[in-house]
Amino acid sequence: MPSVPLASRSPELVSSAIDVRAVSHQFSLSGSKLPVIDAIDFSVVPGEFVALLGPSGCGKSTLLRLIAGLELPSNGSILADGLPVIRPDPSRILVFQDPTLFPWTTVWKNVATGLEARGVLKQSHARVDAALSLVGLSEFAAAYPHQLSGGMAQRASLARALVNDPKLLLLDEPLGKLDSLTRLTLQAELVRLWQRNGFTAILVTHDVEEALLLSSRIVVLSERPARVKAEFKFGKPYPRHRDDPELVALRRRILDTLGLAT
């Protein structure tokens, strides 16, 4: 697997720095303006794994869409490695809650989509195979999406992202719809892929435990319109255990911030 990057490379080559500067965003709903994001500021250093935590419907997903470049913010700016984000780019890949695989083609072709769209598929067949084996789906290359389980489909969607060697992986509750056992497996898998490839990761979730198990920093957002409410930085080595007293204490503090402490 020659072209899959390894974590031993210097972080600037494989990961992006992200600066979100005074970003506000609003939707226009039947004439009236609905503010969803309110003056958010935060930065992510190359190779970091940041979790954005907040109540559902607070604008977390919108923030990810802005960072991905699918939409432009109403105010403020977003910089990736110092350059403004104005359109989507395969170096920043968003993984959705739904796998959104193309149902009309095989798993292999789905994973190859990014390479094919950029016209480099011919010389990179091996990369598609490598990405599939990375997520353990080599045997399902010829299967159609409807033949996969929920967890397998989400793995395929991860492979479709990773085959492009993204410097930034944006994860929009990617495990939100999976059963709890599959979730645990894929959480470990995400950490492994992140450690192996060394990309920057931003995970949106409303699951405090998931944020604690995966990320090295948690940014807590308020209810809509989203503002940064608090930040928690911690440097626990992986693999982490959910019963770790330090994490349990942190979990209590975060829930407190969210106004959910018991």
Binding site: P90, R92, L94, T100, T113, A117, Q147
Partner: protein, 330 residues
Amino acid sequence: MSEAQALDGAAQAQLTSFRRLWRDGLFAALSWGAAALVTIGLPDVVPWGSAGLFAAITGALAVLFVLLSPVVYRLGRAGEVMIHYGPWLVAIGVWLALWELSTAKFGWLPKPFFSPPHGLLNVYVADGTRLLICIGYTLRLWSLGFLSGVAVGYAIGVALGWSKRFSYWGMPFLKLIGPVPATAWIPCTFYFFPTTFGASVFIVALASGIPVAILTASGVGSVNRSFYDVGRILGADNRYLIRRVAIPASLPHVFVGLFMALYYSFAVLVVAEMLGAKYGLGWYIQFQTAYSGYANVYAALIIMAALCAGIVRLLFVVRDRLLRWQEGFI
């Protein structure tokens, strides 16, 4: 189940398949034999011709059913098909016998408005060459009209579904033209097309193009937005999004449009062949209607129905091939 038992079971099955008789086959032989006897045994009220040939064919089939009945369970796939349609075979024999009795033999349904089955057979025997030429002409007109109509309709549909501006200007026209029967355009087509054949092709093309355009547009328009998001994130340009996302995603809709187009195009064939045609099934039907040759009309209608059903079947095969990925959804 142990291997010995399995073998035993297989042998048992073999044995029963030897002993079993295809009962529907025997009943079919009876009904078809009755149809043959009625046809040859009773005189026609008014002679229709080909009674002997019809009796020979039905009689031969009756004999065939008798011969098949002890072996049909060992004929594999073909046998299964025959077993499945056994009750239909019985019913068709009964139907043919009653049909003979009520038309040619007792004259309850009189000539020329009704024809016995051997009257239809007589049309194929007596007018076969002309009918073959007509089939050729009709297929030429239909395929030219249908294929060109579908190609243009599909392209317009993709454009309407994809481009907001195209849809803004184009959709009102389509909505206006859509409900107008294709045949209403005959006066204009005579002006625009130098030959009547061109005009006929246009009418068929219009009838098949409009449903394809409407369904394709709605198909392309209703593609899940997140498929486009995924494509854009992975670096796809508009060309790629149309070719690799919009078009495959809208294919199920397009096929609904194609089936509609098929029926519409057959419905307008008769009218399209009014336009100064010299041959063609539609022309034949009108020509024979004018001369009260209703048996000939029925004979031609049966051919048209069979052609349409055959093409529908073909389209189903194509659809099932292209839309295999849908298996999990339907």
